[in-house]
């Protein structure tokens, strides 16, 4: 480069407009929005979420209101019980939406808990490596081998049914896998030159983990997260099925399905509606997870 070019460069330093960069996140978003199944799933999930949020406005009945005239009756557009009623004469439509609130909230909260614990734990173990890593991961192995479902059931029996306990219990199980994923990614990352460059400059370990490691492991983490949410929803449903879910008159999809299953011959609608919502939600999360995986980890980067 000669002198005049250099001065031209220096002059342009102040003058020229800064050009926006194309971050990897933006590229991934564009790829994700090209995936029809994922976009469709996001729309359906969005609708279910909106229905859950605005549930009280959508039905003339309250979720715990007993309509003595219609006990366990099938769907009927004239009287407003569009999904029918349950054995206590409560409107099933509004109850399915309230169930959506509980199931989605449990899924999101428990996953968030597992995300925060798992990512931090895994990143620390993988980053420091050596003895710290061995001890931390042995602890994870031990927790893995414990029969957690049994503990959850014990806890419920002792402390009574408590929605908060469900969040904590599910989050506490799910973070183990998250920690393993993040640790594996971190192990391979910490040998990379840009981490070494940060070391050479004297960036603190804390900042290296949060500025350099975690943003670079977030891809697989987000994918795993979208696959954890349905898993948690399913586990909650399973607990509810065992009669350990949320307390009456509150409900969740699992509770509704378990009630419906008992009367499957007489009142099919009581099983079908909550089951359809649950299945639809699980499918959507899985499609989004697949879409995210393709979007975040393209082979032709």
């Amino acid at each position: 480069m000669n002198k005049s070019e250099k001065t031209a460069l220096l002059q342009s330093a102040g003058a020229a407009e800064e050009i926006e960069g194309r971050s990897l996140w933006r590229d991934a978003r564009i790829r994700l929005f090209r995936n029809k199944a994922a976009v469709g799933s996001m729309i359906i999930l969005g609708i279910i979420t909106l229905l859950a949020i605005f549930a009280p406005l959508l039905s003339p009945y309250a979720y715990d209101q007993i309509d003595w005239g219609y006990i366990q009756e099938g769907p009927n557009w004239e009287n407003g019980h569009i999904f029918g009623t349950d054995g206590n004469g409560r409107d099933l439509f509004i109850r399915v939406l309230y169930g959506a609130r509980v199931s989605l909230a449990v899924g999101l909260l428990a996953t968030t808990v597992s995300l925060i614990i798992g990512v931090t734990y895994g990143a620390v173990a993988g980053y420091f490596g050596g003895k710290i890593d061995s001890i931390m991961m042995r602890f994870v192995d031990v927790l893995y081998s414990l029969p957690f479902m049994f503990f959850v059931i014990m806890l419920m029996v002792v402390f009574g049914r408590n929605i908060f306990l469900i969040f904590v219990a599910l989050g506490a199980v799910e973070w183990l896998t998250m920690a393993r994923i993040v640790r594996g990614q971190t192990l391979s990352l910490r040998r990379r030159e840009f981490i070494e460059a940060a070391h050479a400059t004297g960036v603190s370990n804390f900042k290296i983990i949060f500025r350099h490691i975690i943003p670079n492991v977030l891809g697989p983490v987000i994918v795993y997260m979208t696959l954890t949410i349905p898993q948690v929803i399913l586990t909650e449903s399973f607990l509810s099925f065992l009669g350990l879910g949320v307390q009456e008159p509150l409900t969740s999809w699992g509770v509704l399905i378990s009630e419906g299953a008992k009367v499957i011959e007489a009142s099919t609608w009581m099983l079908i509606y909550p089951a359809v919502f649950l299945a639809l939600t699980l499918f959507c999360f899985n499609f989004i997870g697949d879409g995210l995986r393709d979007a975040l980890d393209p082979k032709d980067r």
Partner: protein
């Protein structure tokens, strides 16, 4: 060859003195009761580096060049020996003492893209050393300095918000250089900074490094296995073999009159542009493979491939001996060969 660098200021005191530096990696052995083995990646290296000087480090793959560079910067803890920075030993220095020194010690890597965090913008990447060491400057001033440095290394400052994957290899290396230069350090370890680049771009990057060196009175440790680039940029050259220094000499001495058989072999393998000389020059061809650094040969580590090896070579390791003002050689028979 191009313009000569101004010669190193030998009269000044060295900014860096490395004494008997060793880096041994413990390798866990397969047997249950067998003790761990030591991989001697760097095994007793000595040299001084002067302000404004470029020291070339050459040798085959796996001879410990990168390990040496990292051990000097304390990125890998040395097993033994001393690294004196401005007269003060920094091996085993506590974090508190090391932190202010990091301002003066920087590194540039071989793989330009891998040395940049893909999730950060160029501006954030180049600013990181400033943010770490001079946070008091404030956002605006840091940004202004980043832009100035970008222009200085030949990047358009308006690219400040772009991401590494939007740049070519050569540009990425300029970004890495800008990051290393932003604190105006005294020493940069360049670990094969141009090996991954196109030949046409190699010269640009090497020239940029030379310009910066003159402008900021930088010292460089230039690791490479390309002897013609080393000849172009370095004042002195250190030849490593299996973690040991084979020869350490001024650039001109080593190319004109290499004294160690290994150096002779390396230099005779470099093609000379003149076909007449090329055809008639003395050639030493190395036979055999590089021994494993896990079980280096006894005595002289080079003896398994040395055409001049004698009995003594298997028994005693040669020490680095000064053979002239500007040349040191580790060979028992440097006089006779």
């Amino acid at each position: 060859m191009s313009v000569m660098n101004k010669s190193a200021k030998k009269d000044a005191s060295p900014i860096l003195s490395v004494r008997d530096l060793k880096v041994h990696f413990p390798i866990s052995s397969k047997g249950l009761f067998a003790p761990d083995r030591q991989l001697k990646a760097v095994d007793g290296v000595n040299f001084d580096l002067y302000p404004g000087e470029t020291l070339g480090v050459v040798g085959e793959s796996g001879c410990g060049k990168s390990t040496l560079g990292r051990a000097i910067l304390q990125l890998i803890p040395p097993t033994d020996g001393q690294v004196a920075w401005l007269g003060k030993n920094i091996v085993g220095a506590p974090h508190r003492d090391m932190q202010p020194l990091r301002r003066d010690l920087q590194i540039i890597f071989q793989d330009p893209l891998a040395s940049l965090n893909p999730r950060m913008t160029i501006g954030e990447i180049i600013a990181e050393p400033l943010v770490t060491h001079k946070p008091e400057l404030g956002k605006e001033e840091i940004k202004a300095r980043v832009k100035r440095m970008m222009a200085r290394v030949g990047l358009l400052p308006q690219m400040i918000n772009r991401y590494p994957h939007e740049f070519s290899g050569g540009q990425c290396q300029r970004i890495g250089i800008a990051r290393a230069m932003i604190l105006e350090p005294k020493l940069i370890v360049c670990d094969e900074p141009v090996s991954a680049l196109d030949v046409s771009i190699q010269a640009q990057i090497v020239n940029l490094l030379q310009e910066l060196q003159r402008e900021f009175d930088l010292s460089l440790i230039f690791i490479s296995h390309d002897l013609s680039i080393v000849r172009h940029i370095c004042h002195r050259i250190m030849v490593l073999y299996l973690g040991n220094v084979a020869e350490l000499a001024d650039r001109d001495s080593i190319y004109a009159a290499p004294r160690h058989p290994y150096t002779k072999a390396l230099i005779s393998a470099v093609p000379i542009p003149d076909p007449e000389i090329e055809r008639n020059k003395e050639r030493i061809v190395l036979t055999g493979d590089l021994p494993s650094p896990l079980s280096p040969p006894s005595g002289c580590v080079f003896r398994t491939r040395c055409p001049f090896a004698k009995d003594k070579c298997a028994q005693e390791p040669p020490v680095l001996e000064r053979v002239s003002d500007s040349q040191e050689v580790a060979c028992h028979f440097h006089d006779s060969i």
